[in-house]
Symmetry: C2
Subunit: 318 residues, 2 copies
C-alpha cells in the first residue's frame, strides 16, 4: 500500500504524519518544535519524517508545506521568515536525496486551499478560492481541479492585490494591498490611528511602560462585542475592503466556492456582514453570485498537513 | 481530414473561415455585415458558415466568438450589446442542431488570448495573460495550457478589476475598474475633465455645434506626439494604472508572458513607458519579473477567428 508522508513546517512547530491513500486519519503522527532560528533545521526535518515512517517501509511520496516565498517547481525555499539558514535552500531536493523518495513543496496557504478542496469545505467543487485571514492574508486557488502555482511558483498571492494604490503600507513594504486593509494587524493599525486622532473608545493606546503594548485583533473584537463603536467600525472597514477584493477575484477566477480560514475570519458577522454587503455592491454582474458558496474552512490546524499530503498525492497522480 | 469552421461575430462584421488542422491559412473564408440590430441574425450566421463549408463535407467542430456576456459551458449568449434578438439566446446549440456538428462559443477577448497563445505572440508559453486595450479592456488567461473560463464561464474579466474603490465610473456602471482608468474612452474622459478645470492644451472641449463632438484616444495621442502636456499626462496616467493592475495580476496568475493588443496599445512608449515604470514599482517580489515577456499581440484582426478555431480544436482535443 503506497503511503504518503506529509510535513507542515510552521513558525513554531513541525508536524509530520503518514497516510494510507484511503484514510483521512494518519497512520503515525509526530510534532516537534521548528526552532527556525536555531541551526540544524534540515536534520530536525529528516528526523521527524523518520519518526512517522511506516513499519512496512514503503513510501510513495513526501509532501512539504512551509511559509513562502518558495519555488514549488524546484522545491527551493527562497527567503523564509526568521530562518537565515534556509535562504535559497533546496529543501525538497535534500529530503528527496536522503530518503530516495519523490518530495514536493508548496506554501502553507496554497496547501491549506488544496486541503479544503480535497478533504474540507470545498469537496465536490472544481473552482475554489481559499483565504486565510490572520496576521496576513494568504490564499490558495484551485482551477478546474488543479492547484494554481504559476510560472515562477508565485501565483495566488491575492492578499497582495492592490486594492487602493494610495492605501496603507502592507507588511511586505508595498502600499494598498488587501492584507494592509483586512488582516488582523491592519485592523489594529486602523484602531491605533483613530485613537491617535482622538476617537473615543474603550480601547486605548499602548502605554509604553504598561501592559497594553500589543493590542491584538482579538482585543478589538472583544471591544466590538461590548458595543465599542470604533472597534465595530474597524471590523466593518476590514470586511468592506475584503468584499472589494473578493469582487475583483470573482471577476478574475469565477469560482463556485470561496472559503475563509484563519483567526480573524472566526469573528463571524462582525467581519462578514459588511463583507457580504460590500461584495454584493461591487460584483459587476449578478451571475457571479448564482450558486456561489461562501463558507468557513473546516480543517482547522490540520489544513497544512492534509494539504502537504494532497500535494504529494496530486503530483504522483494518486 | 477533419476541418474546423470558425466564426468571429464582431460588432460590424461576421467573419467565417474553414481550416485544415495543419495549416494556419484558411481553406475558405467569407465576411458579411453583422447587422446586429436587424432581425435574422441566426440565419445570417448559418449562411456564412455554409459559405465556408469544405467541399468534402466533413467538419469536426465549429467555434464561435462573440462579445460577452455569454456562457461558454452552455453556448448561450446572455446579453450581447445592441442585439435584443440574442438576449439569453442558445447560439451554439442552434448552430450545432442545424449542422449536426459540435459547436463551441466563448467571448472575443478570451478567444483572442487563446489565439495569441496557440498561433501568435504566446507560442511556446504555458501561462499567458492577454489584454486588449481599446474602447474597453478585455482579457484572456491561459493557465498551464488551459483557457481560464470559470464556473459560470465569466472568468478573466480583468478589465473589471477594482483598482481604486473611489475611482471613476466604468462603462459597466461600477466604479474604479481598470477599464475606467486605462481604456481609450477613459483617456478621453480624463482629458475632458482636465479641460473643464481649465488646464491648457491644444486639445479643446467639444463644441456642440461644431466638428469636435467626439474626441478620441487617437486625437489625444496625436496631441501628445505634438508635445501637448495634458495629452502626454493622460496617457502616462493610463499607463500608470495599467501597471498597477498588471502588478496585481502577476501576483494572482504569475504568467510567463503578458501580451497587449487593441488600438490603444499601439501608441507604444506614450503608454508603455509609464506602464513599465509603474509595474516595476508595484510588483512586490522581483522574481515575478524574471524572464517575464511583455510584448504586443501578433495576430491583429485575425485573432478572433483563430481563437474560435483554437477553441473548437481545444474542445475536441485536436
Amino acid at each position: 500500500m503506497p503511503t504518503i508522508i506529509a510535513v507542515d513546517i510552521g513558525g513554531t512547530q513541525m508536524r509530520a504524519a503518514s497516510y494510507a491513500p484511503d484514510r483521512i486519519k494518519p497512520i503515525k503522527q509526530k510534532k516537534i518544535p521548528t526552532l527556525a532560528s536555531t541551526p540544524g533545521g534540515l536534520g530536525r526535518l529528516l528526523h521527524v519524517i523518520e519518526e512517522v515512517w511506516p513499519s512496512d517501509g514503503s513510501v510513495a511520496a513526501i509532501g512539504l508545506g512551509s511559509p513562502g516565498p518558495l519555488d514549488p517547481h524546484t522545491g527551493y525555499l527562497l527567503a523564509p521568515p526568521n530562518n537565515p539558514e534556509w535562504h535559497n535552500f533546496p529543501l525538497a531536493p535534500n529530503v528527496e536525496k536522503h530518503f530516495g523518495v519523490k518530495t514536493y513543496l508548496d506554501n502553507d496557504a496554497n496547501l491549506a486551499g488544496l486541503a479544503e478542496y480535497r478533504f474540507g469545505a470545498g469537496r465536490g467543487h472544481h473552482d475554489v478560492l481559499y483565504f486565510t485571514v490572520s496576521t496576513g492574508i494568504g490564499s490558495g486557488v484551485i482551477i478546474r481541479d488543479r492547484l494554481l502555482q504559476g510560472y515562477h511558483g508565485l501565483a495566488a498571492e491575492l492578499g497582495h492585490s492592490i486594492i487602493d494604490p494610495n492605501g496603507p503600507l502592507c507588511s511586505c513594504g508595498f502600499n494598498g494591498h488587501l492584507e494592509a486593509f483586512s488582516s488582523g494587524p491592519a485592523i489594529v493599525k486602523y484602531v491605533l490611528g483613530e485613537l491617535e486622532s482622538g476617537t473615543r473608545s474603550i480601547l486605548h493606546r499602548p502605554d509604553k511602560g504598561g501592559r497594553d503594548v500589543n493590542m491584538t485583533a482579538r482585543d478589538v473584537a472583544e471591544a466590538a462585542h461590548q458595543g465599542d463603536e470604533l472597534a465595530i467600525r474597524a471590523y466593518q472597514r476590514a470586511g468592506e475592503y475584503l468584499g472589494i477584493g473578493v469582487a475583483s477575484f470573482l471577476h478574475a477566477f469565477d469560482p463556485s466556492i470561496v472559503i475563509f480560514g484563519g483567526g480573524v475570519s472566526q469573528v463571524g458577522n462582525l467581519l462578514f456582514d459588511s463583507f457580504h454587503e460590500s461584495l454584493k455592491k461591487r460584483v459587476f454582474h449578478p451571475r457571479y453570485l448564482e450558486g456561489l458558496v461562501i463558507t468557513n474552512a473546516k480543517l482547522g490546524d490540520d489544513a497544512g498537513l492534509l494539504g502537504a499530503r494532497a500535494l504529494a498525492e496530486m503530483q504522483i497522480n494518486l
